[in-house]
């Protein structure tokens, strides 16, 4: 099993450009999450999904959009890139919600720089 796969690993964007960060998992997990990690900081939740067709905002959703058309895929869209979106982005998945004692499996991250 590949687990959680994120592409690309690195990307440099110009201000105002758009891009989609891809995330796919092969563990048949219902829950998927996007976090961003800024230097020296913990992970901040951007969006999450409890199943195909259902998404919800996390702590820092502004400037991002997501969709969940299949169980496997959870892409994150940046429409108008800003320097404040320079960060490392992590996708994660879990079998069920953390309230039932299910932790996450993380991808290896996408390092995004906006210049």
């Amino acid at each position: 099993n590949a687990g959680v796969t994120q592409t690309p690993k690195f990307r440099i964007l110009k201000i105002g450009q758009s891009m989609t960060l891809q995330c796919t998992q092969d563990m048949n997990h219902n829950y998927m999450y996007w976090y961003r990690q800024d230097p020296g900081m913990g992970l901040k939740l951007i969006y999450y999904s409890v199943g195909a067709g259902i998404t919800d905002k996390g702590e820092v959703p502004n400037g991002y959009n997501v969709s969940r058309s299949t169980t496997e895929d959870f892409p994150l869209r940046l429409e108008l890139a800003a320097p404040s979106q320079t960060s490392v982005y992590f996708c994660a998945s879990s079998y069920s919600n953390v309230g039932q004692g299910y932790g996450y499996t993380f991808g290896s991250g996408t390092r995004l720089t906006v210049v």
Partner: protein, 112 residues
């Protein structure tokens, strides 16, 4: 709002020492707690978890202690090795039970 705090951003130990990394959380209703290890350039990796109905749980060379009275969580690593050098995050279930809130992390450096 909910928060997960940190006691020390960095910890330096000698190989063979025991390491203790601490974490504090704000939501007394939190039920599930996890420690993750993140090596440079990689995603966080699960180390050990604990639910609120326990106060201690042991794994291989790691122990998690939970003190719900003072809302404090700690990770103990026995006989620390150079391969344990990484950033360690505690994560706590949010109030809605839908996601994890992460602390800022403690960077553990192990010298031989």
């Amino acid at each position: 709002g909910e928060s997960v705090g940190l006691h020390l951003p960095t910890l330096s130990v000698q190989e063979g020492d025991n390491s203790i990394i601490n974490c504090a959380y704000s939501n007394s209703a939190s039920d599930y707690f996890i420690w993750y290890k993140q090596e440079s350039g990689k995603g966080p990796q699960f180390i050990i978890d604990i639910r609120s109905n326990m106060d201690k749980r042991q794994g291989q060379r790691v122990t998690v202690l939970l003190n719900k009275t003072v809302k404090h969580l700690s990770l103990q690593i026995a006989a620390t090795q150079p391969g344990d050098s990484a950033v360690y995050f505690c994560a706590v279930q949010n109030q809605a039970g839908t996601a994890l809130i992460f602390g800022k992390g403690t960077t553990l450096s192990v010298s031989s």
